[in-house]
């Protein structure tokens, strides 16, 4: 049924307030999770949840963009828009994962990197750039899954990975449809048209080779209906880990380099 949806329908589904958020995946997909905080420079960004998870007796570093489930939690989580310290926390823990040879799984769900005075003062652009740069050479396998919104550079800073997957009704875009419409047509109300042009759905992006896999999701997608999807993701994560465990560090790094080099 959802295959008949327009791109704009999917934008709305990807942003729906009762759509499962990162914390739901962390608790349902992994056997245990210890959260670790802070970037060691400035603070702890609650739009990014990160730590060490156990999965089938393997340790994995999980780093996730976290939206809230209601207005109150969204205020705390800054609507899932990370600040520079969020990107720096993510990078710190990716380096830690590399040191202890743990694979890394990143969950992407953000309207974009936070845009405000203090984010600029603390180097939002530098923080994102540094993640792209360092992630490209990390010697352990990295998997990114877009579970909701993948908003531009703020999402890409979690997406320089060996594989990038998207849930069927998630989106990944260079700019929000509203932003695009207001720049191109000076009319933010034409966002549905923009969503169509931007090719931001999972099906468009697999065709463009920007992503590697589309994960099916139920039509009515909430925490209560996510069990099948969770089982599917678990199987696929195991396959990802199995296929990368045979690779040398050089192969892991060069396959990631080549993945982006050809785009």
């Amino acid at each position: 049924m959802t295959d008949k949806l327009t791109p704009w329908d999917r934008v709305k589904l990807a942003r729906k307030i009762d759509r499962p958020t990162s914390s739901d995946y962390i608790s349902k997909v992994f056997d245990s999770f210890i959260e670790l905080h802070g970037d060691r420079y400035y603070g702890d960004d609650s739009a990014v949840v990160a730590g060490i998870a156990k999965y089938n007796y393997q340790s994995i570093t999980v780093i996730a963009q976290q939206k809230g489930k209601n207005i109150k939690e969204n205020k705390k989580r800054n609507y899932g828009m990370p600040k520079p310290e969020g990107y720096r926390k993510a990078l710190r823990l990716m380096k830690q994962a590399e040191k202890f040879k743990r694979p890394i799984i990143l969950l992407i769900d953000t309207p974009g990197a936070f845009c405000g005075i203090e984010a600029e003062e603390r180097g939002q652009g530098e923080a994102i750039a540094k993640n792209l740069y360092e992630m490209s050479s990390i010697k352990v396998p990295i998997l990114s899954i877009v579970i909701g919104e993948g908003g531009s550079g703020g999402a890409l800073a979690f997406g320089v990975s060996n594989e990038v997957w998207m849930l069927k009704n998630s989106i990944y875009s260079v700019i929000s449809p509203e932003g695009f419409a207001s720049i191109i047509w000076k009319d933010g109300k034409r966002a549905p048209e923009a969503a169509d042009l931007l090719k931001l759905t999972a099906h468009d992006l697999i065709r463009l080779k920007i992503i590697d896999k589309v994960i099916d999701e139920p039509d009515e997608f909430t925490v209560d209906s996510m069990d099948n999807l969770v089982n599917d993701i678990k199987t696929q994560i195991q396959q990802f880990l199995d296929s990368h465990i045979k690779m040398t560090e050089e192969e892991i790094v060069s396959s990631r380099y080549n993945r982006f080099r050809t785009l």
Binding site: A113, C115, G116, I117, A119, E120, E121, R122, G123, Q124, G125, E126, I128, A129, K130, L132, Y133, E134, S136, S137, S152, G153, L156, A157, G159, V160, Y172, S173, V174, I175, G179, F180, I183, I184, L197, L198, K199, L200, D204, L205, L208, I210, R256, Y257, F260, R261, L263
Partner: protein
Amino acid sequence: MLKDFFKKSPNIQRRTIKTTQIPDGLFQKCLKCNEILYSEDLIENYYVCPNCNHHIRVNPRERLSMILDSGSFVEWDLDMELSNPIDFPGYKEKLQHIKSVTNLDEAVITGLGRIGGTKVAIGVMASSFLMGSMGRAVGEKITRLIEAATDRRLPLIIFCCSGGARMQEGMVSLMQMAKTSAALKRHDKEGLLYISVLTDPTTGGVMASFAMLGDIILAEPGALIGFAGPRVIEQTIGQKLPEGFQRSEFLIEHGFIDKIVKRSQMKKILSMLIRS
């Protein structure tokens, strides 16, 4: 003459080069202080307003002539294939039109040159070409430049000037941020020097990738440098931004760039740095 400055290289075709973007008139008005300036004086002064020190945007060929040893430039990767990855309506026609008006192939010129005798791989972006936005061709030219610098063990200099990712190419444009940054990491691992020079404006996806990854980051005075554009921030926070926000001087105060360099000093400073 600027024309004599570009050396012909065997596999690259010769092209006519517009000598300057300054109009034919004898005089020009500074867009910042409105002072009427004598065009010849302005050229002699590196296109910097003698009255208010405003660094007027220059086209990439002018820039190369200010930085490189005369006649030393060999251009690489001319005539990249036009791509329209998301079949954006009217995009190819728009590119063709801009190519003919600007006499540029794309929003960046790349190649090999010398500064004070030392070989450098150099890229210069053009604000006149779709606001220096980065699509696949720009990302590919810059990546090839970086990879060539790595292979030939050359120092690398990129003059950044861009509004960010080119949204007419959708997600393909975003991917160029990852591609260029990954190539820079390999250049870095070889122990080679990368200097990025930020000019007005350097924002969005270019700022959040190769612009901020220099071993040394220089900026021209008064350049707008930021991740989010000032208008977007104003709309988001619903208030006016303070004077000087996201200018070079703001970035140096916050510790994100190494040095602000006047245009007249740029060649000298670069020449010293690549020899250090």
